[in-house]
């Protein structure tokens, strides 16, 4: 164990919040420098809003339609999902992987900070910047589609559920990047998890449209807690009497995945420190 690392363990400094706010601000500023990316991100959301609208219209035109989800509800679902994706689809803890690759993680351990919290605030800064993009994306989307707006109770529950979904997403992401403590080649594995979670999280296709046996699979996996739950609350498929249950299962996943992430982090951090940083 290096001397500074030991010092950190023995003499823990008093916790202060300001540095973490600074980390978040820096991350947001860093993101804002890629202006062209901002433009393409918004453009790509708009194109996909159009595409999904046309797909659902074509599917609803010639088939027996779903009573749960009439055409306007499913278009609302897809559009809100794409806007949520602006925040959810970000690899917030990519820096963890990058730093494990470059070895920069060693110096982070020497700093008088809580390292996982550093990654959380860095990722959140990036996410908050992208959250700002929701506003222009939403305004332009309204030129292409009509979005249903539910009542205040539903909306409030949706935001609560969205937040829990964000935490689930953060944990899944953090766990994936923690794998880099053991093997650095995680790129393909990450993408595989991303696609499976896109499909089984209900980001593109509402889970209620899935055949029953696949619905069962989807509701056992944690991914449904990321997109499906908030979205089904938004479009009213999950009724107020089931809110407690829905939010409860999301909270369950936050706790379980949070625990897994913590254990992996501890084991991984030990490896780095034991090997001498």
């Amino acid at each position: 164990m290096t001397a500074p690392a030991q010092a950190q363990l023995t003499r823990r400094p008093r916790f202060r919040l300001e540095p973490y706010i600074q980390f978040a601000q820096k991350a947001a500023a860093r993101e804002a420098t890629y202006r062209f990316d901002v433009f393409t991100t918004i453009a790509s959301v708009l194109v996909r809003v159009y595409l999904l609208r046309m797909v659902w219209i074509a599917l609803y035109a010639r088939n027996v339609t779903s009573e749960d989800l009439p055409l306007h509800a499913i278009i609302t679902y897809s559009t809100v999902a794409l806007l949520m994706g602006l925040v959810m689809d970000i690899d917030q803890t990519r820096t963890l992987h990058d730093k494990l690759h470059s070895g920069g993680i060693a110096t982070d351990f020497m700093k008088p900070i809580n390292v996982p919290l550093y990654f959380f605030s860095d990722g959140s800064g990036e996410v908050l910047f992208h959250a700002v993009l929701i506003v222009p994306s939403l305004l332009f989307s309204l030129l292409i589609v009509h979005i249903d707006v539910p009542g205040p109770l539903v909306l409030a529950t949706f935001f609560a559920s969205f937040f829990l979904g964000y935490l689930v997403g953060f944990c899944v992401n953090f766990i994936m990047n923690c794998i880099a403590f053991w093997t650095l080649e995680i790129h393909a594995a990450r993408l595989i998890v991303t696609w499976v979670s896109d499909l089984f999280g209900g980001e593109v296709i509402p889970l209620v449209i899935f055949p029953l046996f696949l619905q069962k699979v989807a509701f056992v996996l944690p991914f449904a807690a990321m997109f499906s739950t908030p979205l089904l609350i938004y479009v009213g498929v999950i009724k107020p009497e089931r809110y407690a249950q829905a939010l409860g299962s999301q909270a369950f996943w936050v706790i379980v995945l949070g625990l897994v992430a913590t254990l992996m982090w501890r084991a991984g951090a030990k490896r780095v420190v034991v090997q001498g940083g």
Binding site: T40, S44, A58, L59, I205, P211
Partner: protein, 264 residues
């Protein structure tokens, strides 16, 4: 040139064999990627059995055709997409002073390319042809390889155009990402579901509809749908591919001249 190209593939295959585990992971990656896409189509069409008259069997053929053409591109031409990286780190200048065509050298820069996607594409195409009940006659045998090659050339043309843009703007990652995304999503469904403007765009400006929609429409005998173009345009894909590669190559020459002209 042929000798150089052979050596290039030898290095690719040897490199891949050396990193066997990586190769297995990337194979799983390709498999899951296409697997989830097809599963998504199946889920939707299981619930809503017809998309503008196209069943899941038709849509599977549409997907298989695109997948094969795209796999041919990814296997033989994907290195064109690395040109911006070479320009950024200065590697590109080395290609300029060698006595072989620059674009050829860029294409034949060894990496870790293995025909896993091509293999998967061929198998998938065989399965969906049978599954969609497409009649395998002389026209099919004669034209499908040409159509697949034409589709790969359309892909190559856009890949080359984006890489050429890097002579002016160094970072083109976002642009490439958006074009790849759009290609994937817009080739997945029959273009009749889009508005007239978007259909025209996909036919004449960014002709992704020639990669799979028009040929599939021909082989599935769906030409009557929508009073658009006659059925045989589905066989024009090779010509369209060559034309667009020619346009892309002309643009490439302009970019290249500008690049070496400034004395970089």
């Amino acid at each position: 040139m042929v000798g150089v190209y052979k050596q290039y593939w030898r290095i690719n295959v040897l490199t891949t064999l050396e990193y066997r585990e990586n190769f297995l992971i990337w194979f799983a990656f390709t498999f899951v990627y296409h697997g989830t896409s097809v599963l998504a189509l199946w889920i939707v069409l299981n619930r809503f059995p017809s998309m503008n008259g196209w069943s899941f069997r038709d849509m599977a053929f549409l997907y298989g055709l695109w997948m094969l053409a795209h796999a041919v591109h990814n296997t033989f031409f994907s290195t064109v997409g690395d040109i911006p990286d070479h320009i950024r780190d200065g590697e590109f200048d080395r290609l300029l002073v060698r006595p072989l065509d620059t674009l050829f050298q860029a294409i034949a820069t060894p990496g870790q390319i293995f025909p896993d996607e091509l293999l998967l594409g061929l198998i998938t195409f065989g399965v969906v042809t049978w599954y969609a009940g497409v009649r395998v006659d002389a026209t099919f045998v004669l034209f499908v390889p040409l159509i697949v090659l034409g589709g790969a050339l359309i892909d190559l043309a856009f890949n080359l155009i984006i890489s050429t843009v890097a002579f002016w703007f160094v970072r083109v990652d976002a642009l490439r990402w958006i074009v790849v995304q759009l290609e994937q999503e817009f080739t997945r469904y029959p273009i009749t579901i889009y508005s007239r403007g978007v259909r025209t765009l996909l036919t004449f400006v960014v002709p992704f509809a020639f990669m799979n929609y028009f040929p599939a429409r021909f082989f599935l005998h769906k030409a009557h749908e929508g009073a658009m173009l006659p059925a045989y345009v589905g066989l024009l894909t090779p010509a369209i591919g060559i034309a667009f590669v020619a346009i892309a190559y002309a643009f490439w020459r302009v970019g290249l001249n500008r690049y070496s002209g400034v004395g970089n």
